[in-house]
Amino acid sequence: MRYLSVLFFYLSTVSYFVTFVFYLLYVVLGSSQRERRLGETLGIVAAGVSEGLSQIAWGVWATRALLVSIAISTIGVIARAIELGNASQWVKIVLLPLSTTYETLTFFSWLIPLIYFVMERKFQIKQVGVFVTGAAFVMLSVAASPSLAPSAPTGVPASLQSYWLTIHVLFMVIGIAFFTSGFGATLVYLWRRYEKKLFLLFGALLGALATIIFIVVPLFGTLQFEKMLASGALLAALCAGFGWLLLFVHREGQPVAWERLENIEEMVYRCNALGFPFYAIGGLVFGGIWAEQAWSRYWGWDPKETAMLVTALVYAVYLHARLTWGARDPGWRGGLVAWLSVLGYLAVLYAWIGINYFVASLHSFV
C-alpha cells in the first residue's frame, strides 16, 4: 500500500460495514427488546429471561462502533490532506482533500456519519443510522475500486488552485451531509407513516423513475415533435399517477399517530433546514464568487451549476411547503412535504453524481 490514507480508508470500509450491521441488528432485534421491556413492566413476561442476541443493547454498541469508524476515517482524511498537499507541492493552502472523485467520496464517508452522529445525539432516533452507515459503506466501496476512482494523489489542476475550493466545496459537502441525514430520517418517517404500504409507494416511485430514464428522456431525445409531445404527456401522467396513488394511500390509511411521527418529522426538518443555508450559500454565493474569479462570470448555466440550483429550489419548495401547509397536516399535504424531501435528495444525487454522466461540464473533475 503506497499511501497511508488508502490503508485507513480500507479499514474504515470494514468498520462502517460492522457499524451498519449493528444498526441493522438494533432495528431488527431492538423492536422485540422494546416490546419485552414493556412486557416486563406490565408483568406479562418474566424478567431476566435470556433471549440471546436480542439481550444485547445493540443501539449503544452501534453508536460506539460509529464513533470508532469516524475516528478511523478522520485519520484517513488527515493523511489524505497531507498527501495531496505533497503531491501538489503546497501551491496554495489546499486544506481539504476534495479535488478528485476518490477524495470527495472518502471525505463524504467521514463527514456524513459525523454530522449524523451529532443529530443522533440530539434526536436519539437510531434507525436513521442504518441508511447513513450503509451510504458511507457504499461510498467507500466505490472509492476502493480503482477504475471508478483512482486513489493516487495527483497535483491539483490549475482551475482548482484557490482558497475557494476549500470554502465552496466544504459548504456544499456539509449541506449534502445534512441532507443525507435528513433523507435517512425521511425514510424512517415514511416507514412509520405508511408501514407496508411504503413498499408500494417506493415501488411506484422506482417504476416512475425508470420510466422517466428509459422512456420519457429517450422519447424526448428523438426530437420529433409528436414524440416530444407524447413524452411530455407521459411525464404529466406519471406525476398525476403518483399523486393519485399518494392521495389513495392517504385516504385509505390509518389516522396518523402523531406521537410516533413528531420527533422524526422534526429531525427531517432540522436536517434539511440546517443543510439548506450551507448548500445555498456554498453553491450560489461562494460558487458564484469563485466562478467570477476563475471563469469570469458568477453564473453561466453550466450543467452542474444549474443542477445545484434545481436542488436548492426543490429544498426551497420543501421549506415553503412545510411552512404553509405545516408538518402536522394529517392529510396528503403533510405526506407531500415528506415526499418533497425525498425529491430534494434525488435532486442532490443528480446534481452531485448523475449530472457527470449526462453532459460535459466545466465541473467535470468531481
Partner: protein
C-alpha cells in the same frame, strides 16, 4: 372606475403574494433548468457538435423550441420575470407583517394565562422582596433585554431576527438586479493573443500588452501546475503596471478584468503546414510550406496553392460539414485550393497526414469527382502557441457582491436566531415563569429549563413547609 382599478390592483396583489404561486413558479423553473442540464446549451456548444449529436433536423427542432438556449428563451425569461414579481410582492407583504411584529410590544399577561404556555413553570412559596432584581440579573446574563410592567418582568431577545428572511429575499432581488446590470451594460470578449500583441478595448483609455506566457508543470510530472501570462497595462504610452495572471488570479484594472482562460497551440488560426505536391501521373513536385489563409506559388507549374483551413481533428457532420472535433492533433487535415495563373480554380480538396484517411479520401473523391490534376499530401505542421484571455467589464459586480453579503447574513439570521420572550410574574407567594419562541423552536425548551434552574438556585422562594417545621 377608480374602485374598479383598485379592485384589480388588490386582486393582482393577492395573486402575486400567494406562496402557492411561488411554489408553482419555482417548480416550473426547476423543471426547465433540469431540461437545460440534459440538453447542451449553445453558450458552450458549437453548432457542429449539435449536428453531430442530433442531426440537422433534430437541431432545427431544438432551435425552433429555443431548447438550445433555454435560459435565454422567452418562456424562461417570462417565468423569471413572474418569479421576480412574486418574490418582490411576497417580500413586501412579509415586510409589512414583520414591521407590525416589530412594533408589537410585549405586554402584561395574567399569571393564569402564563401557566397555560407550552414553556411554563411555577415556583410557589413565599417570595423574597429582592426577587425581582435577582431574576432580572439572571435574564440579562443570558442576553435578554429586560423591562418591568405591573410587577411582571418582560424579557426578550433577538426580536430583529424576524427581518432576516426579508433581508434574504430582498438580497435575492438585488443579486438578480446586479446580474441584469452586468448583462445590459457589461462587456465580454475572448481574445487569442500571441507574444507581443497589444490588446485595445472599445471604450477603454488604456491598452494591454502580452509580454509572454508559459506553463509550469508539477515537479517530475507531466501534469500542468498552472498557466501564466504576463500582462502590462499601457496608458498614454506609459507603462502603468505589470502583472502575471494565472487561472484563479485575474488582472483587474479600471473595471476591466483579464482572465487566463485558455492556453494551447493555435492550429486553426495560424497553422504552418508542409505539403507534398504530385502531378496526377505521380511525378513529385517537391515540398512546400505555407500558412493558413495564405499559400504558396509553384513556379514550375505556374499555379498558386491556397491553404483555406486547418483542422487538427477532422470530422464530418451528417450533412457533410467539416469541423474539428477537438483541438488536439488527432486527425490533422488541411483544405487546399489550387489556382492557375489566371486565377481560375483548378481543384480543391482535403489533404490528410494519416495515410488511411488520405487513401480513403482520394478513392472516394475519385469515384465522385473523377481525376484531379494534382495530388497533395500533408507531411508536416507547426503552429504558434497562444494564450486565451477572457476580458470582461462588469458594472454589476458591486451590486452582486452587496447582494451576496446580505443573502448570507439574512439566511444565517433566519436559520439560527429565533425571537425569544420570557415573562416572569412575581407575586407574594408565587413566581410564574413562561417563555415563548417564534416558530415553536424545539431547542428553546433546553434554554428555558436552564433559566428556570438558575432562578430556582437563587433561593428567593422559601417553602411554606419548611416554615411550618420551624
Amino acid at each position: 372606475m377608480r374602485a374598479f382599478l383598485k379592485e384589480i390592483a388588490r386582486d393582482l396583489y393577492t395573486f402575486f403574494t400567494s406562496i402557492t404561486l411561488a411554489i408553482v413558479l419555482i417548480s416550473l423553473i426547476a423543471l426547465l433548468a433540469l431540461l437545460g442540464t440534459l440538453i447542451p446549451q449553445e453558450t458552450f456548444t458549437r453548432e457542429v457538435d449539435y449536428i453531430a449529436r442530433y442531426g440537422v433536423e433534430g437541431y432545427n427542432t431544438l432551435k425552433k423550441l429555443q431548447l438550445t438556449n433555454i435560459f435565454g428563451s422567452w418562456y424562461f425569461l417570462f417565468l423569471m420575470a413572474l418569479f421576480t414579481l412574486n418574490l418582490a410582492a411576497c417580500t413586501h407583504k412579509r415586510l409589512m407583517a414583520s414591521w407590525r411584529y416589530w412594533k408589537l410590544p410585549m405586554g402584561f399577561i395574567r399569571p393564569e394565562d402564563l401557566k397555560r404556555f407550552e414553556h411554563s413553570y411555577a415556583i410557589s412559596g413565599s417570595v423574597c422582596s429582592d426577587a425581582s432584581p435577582k431574576i432580572r440579573e439572571v435574564l440579562q446574563r443570558h442576553g435578554y433585554r429586560v423591562r418591568e410592567h405591573n410587577s411582571q418582568i418582560l424579557a426578550e431577545k433577538w426580536r430583529w431576527e424576524r427581518f432576516g428572511i426579508d433581508v434574504f429575499h430582498i438580497s435575492l432581488v438585488i443579486v438578480i438586479f446586479g446580474g441584469l446590470v452586468t448583462m445590459l451594460f457589461g462587456y465580454r470578449t475572448f481574445a487569442i493573443a500571441h507574444q507581443g500583441d497589444v490588446l485595445r478595448l472599445p471604450g477603454a483609455d488604456f491598452a494591454v500588452r502580452v509580454n509572454r506566457f508559459w506553463s509550469e508543470n508539477y515537479k517530475n510530472s507531466e501534469r500542468v501546475m498552472d498557466w501564466r501570462t504576463e500582462l502590462t497595462v499601457i496608458e498614454n504610452d506609459k507603462e502603468i503596471l505589470t502583472k502575471t495572471i494565472e487561472v484563479n488570479a485575474p488582472l483587474r484594472y479600471k473595471g476591466y478584468n483579464f482572465y487566463q482562460s485558455a492556453f494551447g497551440t493555435d492550429w486553426q488560426g495560424a497553422a504552418r503546414v508542409t505539403l507534398a505536391l504530385f502531378r496526377a501521373d505521380g511525378t513529385a513536385l517537391g515540398e512546400f510550406v505555407g500558412t493558413v489563409d495564405d499559400g504558396f506559388a509553384v513556379p514550375s507549374e505556374n499555379i498558386f496553392v491556397k491553404i483555406g483551413a486547418f483542422l487538427p481533428d477532422f470530422a464530418l457532420t451528417e450533412n457533410l460539414i467539416a469541423y474539428s472535433r477537438t483541438q488536439r492533433l488527432e486527425n490533422p487535415a488541411v483544405f487546399v485550393e489550387i489556382y492557375d495563373a489566371q486565377g481560375f480554380r483548378l481543384m480543391r480538396t482535403w489533404a490528410f497526414s494519416r495515410p488511411e484517411m488520405q487513401r480513403f479520401w482520394e478513392t472516394t473523391m475519385a469515384r465522385v469527382g473523377g481525376e484531379t490534376p494534382y495530388r497533395i499530401k500533408l507531411v508536416g505542421m507547426t503552429a504558434p502557441e497562444f494564450t486565451g484571455l477572457q476580458i470582461t467589464k462588469d458594472p454589476g459586480r458591486p451590486i452582486v457582491y452587496f447582494g451576496f453579503l446580505f443573502v448570507i447574513v439574512g439566511l444565517l439570521v433566519h436559520m439560527y436566531f429565533k425571537h425569544r420572550q420570557i415573562w416572569v410574574h412575581i407575586s407574594e407567594n408565587e413566581i410564574v415563569i413562561a417563555g415563548m419562541v417564534r416558530n415553536n423552536l424545539k431547542s428553546f425548551a433546553e434554554e428555558f429549563r436552564r433559566l428556570v434552574r438558575e432562578i430556582e438556585r437563587l433561593q428567593i422562594v422559601t417553602h411554606p413547609e419548611s416554615e411550618l417545621v420551624v
